[in-house]
Amino acid sequence: MAVIPSEKAQKNPDQVQSLKLSKKTSGKSSDVASRAILFTTSPTTQDLIDAIHNGNTVLIEDSTLKHGLNGFEAPPGELALSLTTLTAYIIDIIAVIDHFLLHRTFLHPVLCEQILTSTHEVVTNAILWSNLEVDCLNNRQKSLNFCDLIKERLKNKLLARRLLKINFHLNAEWADVVIISSGKGFDWHHAVSKISSDVQGLAIIHSFADEVMAEKNGKILRLRFYT
């Protein structure tokens, strides 16, 4: 594994302090090499967009490494993100995913919109219900004071440092998105059986994704979209 300074860090080391180094790895699950960047501090939205723009496919926040990197070697054209819950909450995750999908010209714009909307819903579920352990059945999400509850939970370092992984596998026939959280998980099947106006996020995911699969108590959610 070669460790090289990232292009952006070489050009302007003072501007992007978080991009301390990048790794060049060979994906074990693929013959195609992937480029990885390790962020030693919390990356900003622009850091992530720049990293994608520069051809990096594996973006890792340093403090998530303790959770392991199984399944995160991504070949070019795909994307793997490994972030803490706090970072995932703070950054504009929609902008990052949107930037990634923007250059996948083989995907129809309507499909890109469905992938973006569904992925955002699953990521929100992973952050709130799984990693921050907000009780989704107490209806507090309907209250505008919900933002205070989220901020309160994010003050808990154990919860804020929990892992969130997002992995995209795209080809001409289908697009797979896998979202992994390290919290308590989410009782997906129970929630799906109660889909109503109170659980609209799940209804949205089911409307847009062709297949939805939950594993490991809802800690892993796989979405498949046929192109």
Binding site: T117, T124, F146
Partner: protein, 100 residues
Amino acid sequence: MIYTLKSAGPKIEVDMKGRLTFADYSSFREITQIVTDNNSKCCLFDLTELEFIDSAGLGMLLIARDKLQSVNGNVILKGAQGQVKKMLDLGRFDSLFNIE
């Protein structure tokens, strides 16, 4: 989401711009507070420049609707397009709101 208050009083007009998501509870709470402070009976949300909405954003619109309905008022949604229009359709908001 960035909002602009175009008029206040019995009828409030709010322009929304950008994305309305679960990160916007705090901003939306400001809007509902303005409704309360003005004893408003009608709130018009202009969604023309809103690019994206998620389930939490839909929920916020429902909260505004509940709040206005409790004082025999109503919420009007205007100008939704693209992803926002699709999401409103998915939530069957045409049966819940006045849509211009």
